[in-house]
């Protein structure tokens, strides 16, 4: 499993390195931290025109197969882009739209709808979101829908219920909605402007937003059906797991940024006549942060390789929950300890550390936090089935 990266041909490795470098160059230039800072709390929380630049770079279609006019790259390549943007705390919903939503669509079977949606995503015109999460109940993630049901009516099918924690929370063009149907799970495409859709935007710690979306008897027809039954579960679970891994890529980038800032501060901040990084107690705590970062990095490497290989769906889910757990816990630890090691300055809004801290808070919670993913891991180990 882990040795695949050895067998990546040199050309692909070189290409990936070049992509990582150019993505980092682009991100640093086009998305300085001042941009992220300025967009906090704005109407949509991100910049639609910047999305256009991502499309110009070819990144909105990076993962999408060439058959759908995309670039057919792997998760290794996508990770390079995701990481570079995360380093700059870019607020655009790259993982929610271009991994999670886009991969659900790609994994499903409705040819026409699929073709149309993916084509719009590639050119940067469509920003989709997945609306799947319902009222919190306990410390489990529950990938099955219950509150939202579809009922056949005279004129077609009706969608009713509420979804939470939908990202992006605003300026999103349509939703992939998970719904409960007689034959299990079903996946539907609902444009954001459909009648009966009510989006309530909720501000998040990092200045972006998520939304709670109500579907009040939204009328659907079969052309909006993406998948049904087992096929829906398989398509959705796979995309969910892929989104977990790519969110972990973001969390690792944030960890690295926080640790770097903290180390720089420890090296230069002088108290009691010497750099505070010379104090052994602080050194050892910094080392513990390094260890968590490197554990994240090591597991993440394996996880990305796994996504890019043919693998057992349960194995993928196990790996996805495992890396999301490590990346989230390490992200929060880095966030708390970075502030502590900085002291008061680390807690001020004008210092950039807070940008990373707040984003880490958001991403460690999104799609299920560490504890929830450890429980999913335990359940999957016991059940050894891919269905949840």
């Amino acid at each position: 499993m882990n040795s695949n990266s050895d067998h990546l041909d040199t050309e692909r490795q070189d290409n990936r390195r070049m992509l990582a470098e150019s993505a980092q160059t682009f991100a640093t230039k086009a998305s300085p931290l001042t941009r992220a800072r300025g967009l906090r709390g704005s109407a949509s929380g991100f910049d639609r025109s910047f999305w256009g630049k991502l499309a110009e770079q070819g990144w909105t279609g990076l993962l999408i197969p060439e058959a759908f006019a995309g670039y057919g790259q792997g998760f290794g390549e996508m990770a390079a882009v995701v990481s570079a943007l995360a380093t700059q705390v870019a607020p655009e919903p790259v993982v929610p739209a271009l991994v999670f939503a886009s991969r659900v669509i790609e994994n499903t079977g409705n040819g026409d709808l699929q073709q149309q949606l993916l084509a719009s995503i590639v050119v940067g015109e469509l920003i989709p979101a997945v609306a799947w999460q319902e009222e919190l109940a306990g410390l489990q993630v529950n990938l099955l829908a219950s509150a939202v049901v579809t009922a056949p009516t005279n004129s077609g099918i009706q969608l009713t219920g509420e979804k939470h924690h939908v990202r992006p929370g605003a300026d999103c063009d349509g939703f992939i909605v998970t719904a409960k149907q007689d034959n299990g799970l079903s996946l539907w495409w609902v444009p954001a402007n459909a009648a009966g859709v009510k989006v309530r935007s909720v501000a998040l710690a990092d200045g972006t937003s998520e939304s709670s979306v109500r579907f009040d008897g939204v009328m659907l027809d079969s052309s909006q059906s993406l998948a049904q039954g087992d096929a829906a579960i398989v398509a959705f679970t796979r995309a969910y797991d892929e989104a977990l891994v790519m969110t972990s890529v973001e969390l690792l980038a944030l960890q690295q940024a926080m640790l770097n800032m903290t180390l720089e501060y420890l090296r230069t901040r002088v108290q009691f006549g010497k750099p505070i990084g010379s104090f052994q107690a602080l050194q050892h705590r910094a080392v513990d942060l390094l260890i968590q970062q490197e554990l994240t990095s090591a597991v993440l490497g394996q996880a990305i390789t796994l996504l890019d290989s043919e693998c057992d769906p349960v194995e993928r889910s196990l790996m996805a929950s495992r890396i999301k757990a490590r990346a989230s816990d390490a992200g929060l630890l880095l966030a708390r300890e970075s502030i502590q090691l900085h002291g008061a300055i680390g807690f001020t809004d004008e210092y950039d550390l807070g940008l990373y801290v707040q984003r880490a808070l958001v991403l460690s919670a999104w799609l299920g936090n560490a504890q929830m993913h450890r429980r999913r891991y335990a359940n999957l180990t016991q059940m050894n089935t891919a269905s949840v």
Binding site: Q133, E135, L136, A137, G138, L139, H164, H165, V202, A203, L204, A205, D206, E210, V270, Q271, F272, G273, I276, F279, A281, L282, L332, R336, I339, Q340, G343, A344, G346, F347, T348, D349, E350, G354, V357, Q358, L361, V362, S364, A365, W366, L367, G368, N369, A370, Q371, M372, R375
Partner: protein, 393 residues
């Protein structure tokens, strides 16, 4: 302001003659009847505009300075009574006013100030006319306070002040500042520091609020640019500032280790867990119970130090352990709250969990300064290692 008459009356009441329990009940009843309900258990420090009414209520009652001698308009409470007074404040969720005048500069002037300083400043603190803030920390003097650089140069009857203070709590609401400045650069760093007072209307002083990551402005920077401060504003002798500032570390330090913040966070975890139905989840219950006992045991440790104060004994450096445990227990509770609220753990402001409103991130944010301000956990551990465990660096 027609406070004088009331004060004169109250100044003669011998509160310490009352039974502590009777005193406690009297205070409790007053708080319950008079403290504004909407200000109970404030999530962040209250601004002067919000809490002024209550300050004046206390002032009129003659209760605004419980620790001061009656001769200066205080209640003259014994440590035991004072602790009861503060415990009742905490119990009812009474917010802290900008209280540097009452808790810091007042007692200091009473002990070290000249008659003139006492007469000039103390009544106006009691009357709520002067609001004080504390200017100790500087950008390069945080944990290492003695390395402060703000400069006070003698010039005739004045000092001319240049420099910058930071992390000055609620300076934007203050009328006056007491601060440390360097008056002699030729001696060891603790020995060249003086303690000064300044009116914020003096030309050359600028206050700039600092926004924190929770979006609040509790702290400020204070800039001094060629500020003339009369020598009459020097407290306790030239170059004596360090000793005076240290002398202020009285038994009030135990309140830094009060269990109230943890108890409040525990109640938030409990409320969220009830709403989420987590008390049937053994995994949650295990962790909740552990923290519940951490808080209970913190209370036991707190009581031990409180008893010490009540017996009239001085607090030693070991009281630092209380602050370490209180702040870190609070922080662990804040982590648990973020964890159990799952996807809602990153929502700004109140979240609704099955119909119950809970502000998750307030505890998370408040837990950050808890381990930094008032002597960081690291500084407290240094103190404990050196002064209690006799481990020398």
């Amino acid at each position: 302001m027609t406070t004088t008459t009331n004060q004169t009356i109250n100044q003669t009441t011998d509160w310490n003659a009352l039974d502590t329990e009777a005193f406690r009940l009297m205070v409790r009843a007053f708080f319950e009847q008079n403290y504004p309900a909407e200000l109970r258990y404030p999530k962040t420090r209250l601004r002067w505009a919000e809490i002024k009414g209550w300050y004046m209520t206390l002032s009129n009652k003659g209760w605004v300075a419980p620790s001061w001698p009656q001769a200066h308009g205080g209640m003259g409470l014994s440590p035991e009574k004072l602790i009861a007074f503060i415990e009742e404040q905490e119990r009812w969720g009474v917010g802290r006013a900008p209280d540097m005048g009452i808790t810091m500069i007042g007692p200091l002037l009473i002990q070290y100030g000249s008659k003139e300083q006492q007469q000039k400043y103390l009544p106006k603190i009691i009357q709520g006319e002067n609001i004080w803030c504390q200017g100790y920390s500087e950008p390069n003097a945080g944990s290492d306070l003695a390395s402060l650089r703000t400069d006070a140069v003698e010039d005739g009857d004045d000092f001319i002040i240049n420099g910058q203070k930071t992390w000055t709590t609620l300076a934007q609401d203050a009328t006056h500042i007491f601060f440390l400045a360097r008056t002699d650069k030729t001696v060891k760093k603790q020995e060249g520091i003086s303690f000064l007072l300044a009116d914020f209307t003096t030309p050359g002083i600028t206050v700039r609020p600092i926004r924190n990551i929770a979006g609040h402005e509790e702290f400020c920077e204070v800039f001094f640019e060629n500020v003339r401060v009369p020598k009459a504003n020097l407290v306790g002798g030239l170059n004596q500032g360090w000793g005076i500032a240290k002398a202020l570390l009285g038994f009030e330090r135990i309140f830094l280790g009060s269990p109230k913040q943890s108890q409040y966070a525990l109640s938030r975890v409990e409320a969220a867990a009830q709403a989420l139905g987590l008390f049937g989840d053994q995994g949650f219950v295990d962790r909740y119970t552990q923290l519940q006992l951490d808080v209970a045991d913190l209370s036991a440790l707190y009581v031990r130090f409180v008893e010490q104060v009540k017996r009239g004994e001085k607090l030693g450096p070991d009281v630092s352990m209380l602050k370490v445990w209180a702040a870190e227990t609070f922080s662990r509770l804040a982590n648990l709250l973020v964890e159990i609220t799952g996807g809602s753990g990153a929502v700004a402001g109140d979240i609704e969990v099955n119909g119950k409103k809970i502000d998750v991130l307030t505890s998370f944010y408040n837990a950050r300064p808890a381990t930094i301000y008032g002597g960081s956990s690291e500084i407290q551990r240094n103190i404990l290692a050196a002064s209690v465990l006799q481990l020398r660096s």
